[in-house]
Symmetry: C2
């Protein structure tokens, strides 16, 4: 637990810098860092960190041997060479304290129809204690928090005794390859903190995620021959219904999962993008659906993939079009395991103490039915990986916003955690 005097100094520092932190977050939000378009933000971020005296490594996904790792995910529709990663390192003068990775993703998901937003999605507008915009909460607020937690230590005249890597990655929303790349690039530490917007809770476990693209294509039977199932759009609907049934089965199996057994229907299936056909008066010959499905940490990705294939194959029988035209399945993104943060780690104990001091309450835990990047550090590289950060609402929806009071508090609890984990001089 940090020394109360140190905490007071950190609190004063966070307070002093908070206007700058809010401006920094607004600036982050103003970059429309959609998939494949993250480079301008990363270049700006790299300059910011270099200006703060970090040693900065800027590289792209084409610079690491992704394909060498079994947990790398397929990247479709995007060029790895355009996907920029930044690792900003502050090395301890002497190796002594524990090292730490602070990691955040700066890729955001599409904002949808702009007219549905109260404030412009890339405006970074502040109103009544909230900062609005796509990515404001998920998770540029966390990125601002980790940078300003470090700034607070410096402002307070505290120098960490362990090496610290401040990393901003891409691909969290589609594959996870950005996080994996930092490990393949060689960055390691004694613990990892990813400040996703958890509203000051610790993430005990998250489900896995699989992405797949269904492609229905073929020569349709003439409408004169049959009144249903002769049209690629209708056949895609038929496949979606088959996958809804498969999801019910998966949720039945999920009742046996040690982490998610008590959660009602933790497996979510989402047909997220659909496109098909060329003309209102022509029977559509093609339809594509981009889908996402979850899995519990105790399920294997390969087993769920086989289940998807079986469900699609079985659905062909009941459909005139599909019977003659086998649909294709493309694994076009996430093939992500779930992850459970084992209880009792020293890293979690130190974070809980810092949280308790700042919030005056216990750090509660949550289960997440969406994936995050902790799995790479925690599951494959034996690094305790804590998912804990600020909070808000509207992730992936309209009027996404982050709460500035929570941002300030978690910035402080993170600063206190860093001080206590690494030690300071």
């Amino acid at each position: 637990m940090p020394d109360p005097a140190i905490l007071d100094r950190l609190r004063a520092a966070v307070e002093k810098n908070f206007e700058a932190e809010t401006a920094f977050l607004s600036e982050l939000v103003r970059f429309p860092s959609l998939r494949g378009r993250e480079a301008p933000l990363q270049d700006w971020f790299a300059r910011q960190m270099a200006g703060r005296g970090y040693s900065v490594d800027r590289y792209t996904l084409a610079d690491v041997p992704l394909e060498s790792h079994e947990k790398a995910a397929p990247m479709v529709d995007v060029d790895p060479a355009g996907s920029v990663q930044v690792v900003a390192t502050k090395r301890a003068k002497e190796a002594g304290g524990r090292s730490l990775i602070l990691q955040g993703h700066i890729d955001v998901v599409p904002e949808g129809p702009t007219s549905m937003w109260t404030h412009p999605p890339y405006g970074g507008v502040v109103r009544d204690g909230w900062l609005y915009g796509r990515g404001a909460n998920d998770m540029k607020a966390g990125v601002a928090a980790m940078v300003f937690a470090m700034d607070a230590l410096k402002e307070a005249g505290l120098t960490p005794k362990g090496d610290i890597h401040v990393q901003t990655v891409t691909e969290e929303e589609s594959t996870g390859n950005g996080a994996l790349s930092t490990l393949l690039r060689g960055y390691r530490a004694d613990a990892c903190l990813i400040p996703e917007p958890t509203s000051g809770t610790i993430t005990r476990a998250h489900t896995g995620t699989i992405w797949f693209r269904l492609r229905v294509r073929g020569v349709p039977v003439h409408v004169a021959v049959a009144d249903s199932g002769t049209n690629a759009i209708l056949s895609a609907m038929h496949l979606i219904q088959a996958l809804q049934k498969f999801t019910v089965e998966l949720n039945e199996k999920a009742k046996a999962d040690p982490s998610f057994g008590g959660v009602k229907n933790p497996i979510k299936f989402n047909p997220g993008i659909i496109r098909g056909g060329d003309w209102a008066s022509s029977t559509p010959s093609w339809c594509e659906v981009d889908c996402r499905i979850g899995l519990t940490p105790s399920m294997e990705v390969a087993d769920v993939q086989k289940g998807i294939e079986r469900a699609v194959e079985a659905a062909r029988e009941g459909d005139t079009f599909l019977a003659n035209n086998p649909p294709e399945i493309t694994w076009h993104g996430f093939v992500a395991d779930g992850y459970v943060l084992e209880e009792g780690s020293e890293a979690e104990r130190v974070l809980a103490a810092a949280h308790g001091q700042v919030f005056g309450a216990d750090m509660e835990e949550r289960l997440s039915t969406a994936v995050n990047d902790t799995r790479y550090y925690g599951r494959y590289y034996a690094t305790p990986a804590l998912c804990y950060g600020p909070g808000g609402e509207g992730n992936h929806g309209f009027d996404e916003r982050t709460n500035l009071e929570l941002l300030k508090k978690t910035t402080l609890s993170m600063a206190a955690f860093i001080a206590d984990w690494c030690g300071v001089e």
Copy 2:
């Protein structure tokens, strides 16, 4: 019935010009005259007709008062000023014989994935007695036939005694406004022949067509709240199913139609284009479906539109997303009546005689469950409108092709019809 000697001269002329006719059709097919992109073909066609000595009127849909006519259809996604029409007129030296409109549409529907075609869709390739390509059959073959039927008369030294307008129009596949524009522009005649690919049959009646765009948009309920109906794509599927049920009702009513009562399910519903969502892992907030539905000639367009609105409204009740987010319906194209060619017209009698002479068999009749342009001339301007022409297969599908033997025969029967209807000197 044409004089057998005249028919022989016409037959020889059609035969002599047939290589040129085939080349002319290939050239027509090589223009990718998709909606909004018809102008290059029309300009070429106008020059061709001017070169043959016709008086050519080239104008666009922005040049006629479309909105003044209650049967004009809404045009969405396309600029009327870019939609070029051509009327090529050959006037009789003295008004004496009956006048005639020959009309064909040169707009084509999208070709779909090119990889599904055996021959390039805009190649105009000839193989084993067939000419391949998008629009080759529907209905550039008919356009070639009407031009070369007229050429055959000239080649045979026969001059029609009535005025003849050879018209190529757009928008047949989407609104019908091209055909309507020729009437608003002032062109009239004692009969109209539209050589759609009917394989030498006369079209006794065609169904009407309505286009509409369903737009589902709103703030989705979070996936945590409900497991179905919280997603714009799933809600669009729900609407499609409601419209399938509405189609069953319409087909029940269609049993009372004097023309289509004996046809099984003459009303076809087609969801032809779908698009929705932005990200596999975000609940889609929007989905659009472009649809087409038919109606019998005895049904009113306005009644079917009301039925569609009622079906969509009723479907909202069973769907969490739609209950909170009313879908929009946009009438974005066809609002087309059906049409019945009344039996017993002199024009049909003359055509049947010409057909019988050329084919050595009676002209059979067909019922069409798709719309064509005859309704404007026949239903609103009291002009007997005959839909009769060459034939092939693959309209709106892959490997569309027209049969060259049928093209030659119908070119001759059309030439014989023109000679007999207008009279020649």
